[in-house]
Amino acid sequence: MADTIWVYAEVVGGAVTPTTLEMLTKAAEVGTAEAVLLGSAPADAVATLGAYGASKVYRGDDPTFDSYLMLPAIEVVASLLQAHQPAAMLFASSYAGRDVAAGLSAKLDCGAITDVGDFQLSDGNVKATIPALGGSYLATSTFTHAGPRLLLVRPKSFEPKHTGGSAVVEAVPAPADAALRKVQVVDRVDVPVEGPQLDAARAIVSGGRGLKSGEAFHALIPPLAELLGGAVGATRAIVDAGWVPYAMQVGQTGKTVKPDVYIAVGISGAIQHLAGMKQSKAIIAINSDPLAPIFQLSDLGIVGDAAQILPLLIDEIRERK
């Protein structure tokens, strides 16, 4: 249909992901939103998708979709796309989203625009806006060939809105072909993170190499985050150095965050880091180098030694509370 937009819905940790709801909200604003939901999902998942804009949900709940990665999903979505021909299909730039979109583009010989921050429908085509190179450019891209149009959307690109609608459900069976059961999931292991999750936190305190050691990071950053009721973030430099786990990484190859306030401590502001946090509502930077790029987008920049300032800041906030 000319203005029907599909969303590949994902469930992580027992809940529909925020990016799914963000994409549905946008899809419903631009046209008619419909979702495809494959694999195990909480009982209220379809209701949630409806409440955020989906008028219809193609639902495949066969355990095959959980036990075997991507190939069964690609098969099912490919035939749905060919049968219904929506104007575009949105995927999160997540692990599953990228794999399914990549497989579809190869199988259906169609285009996929990656890293999408916004899009419009015009004359039946899609005009996508891409914050390229960590947001130093804004490019617009469109599709040149007929066939399905796949968009890989950056997390936090849209504001999710609970509009209270509901969706009709169409059941989709799992494909029977045994050749699609090639990539088998043997086990799923959760690595717990303490405190508020990065992608949901209203305040984030992130540390970088300027903290000089893992010990200094752990002594200063989590206590400040805790005082603010916020989450702890990190640059890739210190993830690679083994100070903190990958789950804390903010940036192009880590988490995309959009808190009310982001405090960057000892972080230079490489474009790959900025890509993950430049949409924060307010940014505070503490860095000893007055020329550090992070200052160019900070609302408040403090040129100084993090090791000296942070303990005083922690005391100051404790006193005010």
Binding site: A112, D115, V186, R236, L313
Partner: protein, 275 residues
């Protein structure tokens, strides 16, 4: 085992600010110092560790302009440093310029079909200049082999089965598939070694096989700008986020400044109602 590593050779991201060419609207790639993509170096290292354990050889495959030659030598030097038989394929020529991810995957697949049969293909998760992150799964589909993507650990090969830990939002999934298969590796999973002088010398003696698109039977509907299913229409500057107040010590002792700085931050947080 025969392992194929697909890697990009890219403008040195540490030495220049990346630019987009206003005419072609593509990343400016000419006349810049080129290096082996750090993501490709990780893929090569993972191949070295597997072949050191199981024996075999490694082929490095890249598509890119003539500048890519330096990066190919780096990859070959790494392989030679580990005393592993090395081969390299360079997809070169204007016909490839402007390929999108799918065109890239088709080109790589066509080149890999020219090589002796392989057991495993290793890719980076995403290239360090464009971050599309979808070429590996497209390539696996082109070759009809299982994609084991986003590996943060290659657990090992047992018999004919490869097991990896796949990065997930909440931790990881243990995932397996039969060989031949494709793995894409995330950037932190190993620390690439440095090439030895002996390896660098040995790498110079390896013949690099180059292919044009037509030599691989690929035409303008398969690769290059004409085959790309997406077109960049405009490139502009984003709405710049303005710098706010940058506060610096005016020469007072460090401890005094630190105290004042802490107050400034606390005041700002209070104005945002965070405290």
């Amino acid at each position: 085992m025969h392992v194929v590593v697909c890697g990009k050779v890219i403008p040195d991201i540490n030495q220049l600010t990346l630019r987009i060419d206003p005419d072609t609207k593509r990343l400016h790639r000419k006349d810049e110092p080129h290096i082996l993509d750090p993501a490709a170096a990780v893929a090569v290292e993972e191949a070295l560790q597997l072949v050191e354990q199981h024996g075999g050889s490694i082929s490095f495959v890249t598509m890119g302009p003539s500048d890519a030659a330096t990066g190919i030598r780096t990859a070959l030097a790494l392989i030679s440093t580990a005393n592993i038989p090395a081969a390299a394929v360079h997809l070169l020529g204007d016909e490839f310029a402007g390929s999108d991810t799918l065109g890239t995957a088709k080109a790589l697949a066509a080149a890999i079909k020219q090589l002796p049969p392989f057991d495993l293909i290793i890719c980076g998760t995403e290239a360090s200049d464009t971050y599309a992150g979808i070429v590996p799964a497209q390539l696996a589909w082109q070759l009809g082999i299982p994609p084991l993507t986003f590996a943060n650990k290659v657990v090992g090969v047992e018999g004919n089965t490869l097991t990896i830990n796949r990065q997930s939002e909440t931790g990881y999934a243990v995932v397996k598939a039969d060989l031949p298969a494709l793995v894409s590796v995330t950037s932190g999973l190993n620390e690439p070694r440095n090439p030895s002088l002996k390896g660098i010398m040995a790498a110079r003696k390896v013949d690099v096989q180059t292919y044009s698109a037509s030599q691989l039977g690929l035409g303008p509907d398969d690769v290059g700008a004409s085959a790309a299913r997406e077109r960049v229409e405009t490139v502009g500057a984003p709405e710049a986020r303005k710098a706010g107040r940058i506060l610096e010590s005016d020469g007072q002792p460090d401890t005094v400044w630190a105290q004042q700085a802490a107050k400034e931050v606390a005041d700002f947080l209070a104005s945002l109602k965070v405290i």
